[in-house]
Amino acid sequence: MNKNYFEIKRAGINTTFQDQGRGNLYHIGIPFSGAMDNRNFQISNKLVGNKVNFPIIEFAYQGPLLKYFGENINFAVTGDVKFIIRKKNNAIEGTCYQSFTLENGDELDIISTNKSVYGYLAVSGEFDVNYQWSSCSVNTKANIGANNGKKIEDGQKIYILNINKNLSDKKLNYINTKIENIRVIQGTNFDYFSDEGKKIFFEKEFVISKLSDRMGMRLEGPKIENIVDTNIKSEGLLKGVIQVPADGNPIIMLSDHGTIGGYPKIGVVISADYDKLVQLTPGSKIKFKKVELADAETLFKLYDLETQNLISQI
């Protein structure tokens, strides 16, 4: 049997294997991790005929350049991504949310995400990866997950097992919408902040700093004044929690966050807005809108239903 693999000619900036992530490990210090944008992760798998929680390759900003060796395989890219398929005699500009076939020797050049952060590459087969706690998701901080818990690197080979022989073309009509208003529920330390600080939090614009990654998103803007204490006794964190340290600039916890933190929590991003939040690029503006718990629950149901609908259209 021939081996099927990608040779990584260029790894890209932050290219990792991800899946749905791993739960029930916060108490030992391990966050969920997993694909940052859950909707685009699931859709990418469905476009190549996989189960929605199969391992995929997640990339940020600049993506990987991969040369393929082996029997024909389908792939799909999701997000808002510019990519090119180079065949022996021609090059084709790729389209997101559509499956394409790679033949032996073809190159897939994922040039970059357009005004968004994360994109996803799924193939009609199984990436040969190791699992820890039932997930391949890479956590580079604790070196957990596929690829020895590290980013994908230049020159390495990525093997693919169990290629689906019934390659059929699939497509989804979908455009990623961007939102700049992120809805939040008040945090457990909301009253640590002055009336003016609370007002600023919900009325002013913040700018996303360059110091943002899979662990957290730092924001810059008008300072949020704390009138009680700039530290709390360390306690658990969750993705979406917005902490405000002493300098008054909010930090939003993302999927690879530290599991414990000691800064006051001013708010928590609602689950329905998380996929959109992570796609906001450094330099973008962001504004927080207050919602109540009951509304957040309904909004998540709607968002999840919409995701399921999109998947069932494929």
Binding site: K141, G149, K233, L237, E297, F300
Partner: protein, 224 residues
């Protein structure tokens, strides 16, 4: 026993056991944590016990705040006697290459390094929680004379195995990581092992830890 349950976002319960940090309150947190683990409640996908809070995360596709809150309010909580607690010894070398902040500590605390070691080694410390980075234990309580603030400017990289002090707590850096604790030594002991999925942490909440001073030779032989 939980003073108040509120929501942290739309997919977690924030259980407040009080504001103080002591063994009594923390033991309540740990009892709840272990009781919930034992019940294996459908939809709960993470638990974060800390000094005096317990955060319960759940899958919003399956459950919501009200349903989980009710289950927690009606929970059968195990009693103190049922809590397992391991006693663990951690070897630490205080060679000058490892005790990065010992001079600073001598100045901050106004006592000699020998006095610092005397008050630290051989004493029993209680593990309040683990986390921030995988497997990092938060141990207490240090005597008053050993209590110092964090570094004013945190280190960008604290070496793996570093043993640090701050306020009433001691910890061990399980990975190279940024951090602001006062580093007094380094342990060759593996504290976190991701290949041991059933029991990756050497030290778990409720355990009792004693540090033992070792020489440089013993430090390097420990790895053999």
């Amino acid at each position: 026993m939980i003073k108040n349950i509120s929501n942290l976002g739309d997919a977690a319960l924030y259980c407040d056991f009080g504001t103080e940090v002591n063994k009594e309150i923390n033991s309540k947190v740990i009892r709840y944590f272990k009781s919930i683990q034992k019940e294996n409640i459908d939809g709960i996908n993470n638990l974060t016990p800390s000094y005096n809070k317990l955060i319960i995360s759940f899958d919003l596709r399956k459950k919501n705040f009200q349903t989980i809150k009710q289950q927690i309010e009606n929970l059968n909580v195990i009693n103190d006697d049922a809590l397992e607690s391991n006693k663990i010894k951690i070897p630490v070398c205080c060679d000058e290459n490892f005790s990065l902040d010992i001079k600073r500590l001598e100045e901050k605390l106004q006592i000699t390094r020998d006095k610092i070691y005397e008050k630290f080694f051989g004493k029993e410390f209680f593990c309040y929680m683990t986390g921030f980075i995988a497997g990092m234990p938060f141990l207490g309580d240090l005597e008053n004379e050993l209590q110092a603030k964090r570094l004013e400017t945190p280190r960008v990289k604290v070496p793996k195995g570093s043993v640090g002090l701050t306020e009433q707590f001691a910890n061990v850096y399980t990975f190279e990581s940024p951090g602001g604790w006062n580093i007094i030594g380094n342990t060759p002991q593996v504290i976190f092992d991701s290949t041991n999925e059933n029991n990756p942490n050497l030290i778990n909440p409720g355990d009792v830890v004693t540090f033992e001073q070792i020489t440089k030779d013993q430090y390097y032989n420990n790895n053999e």
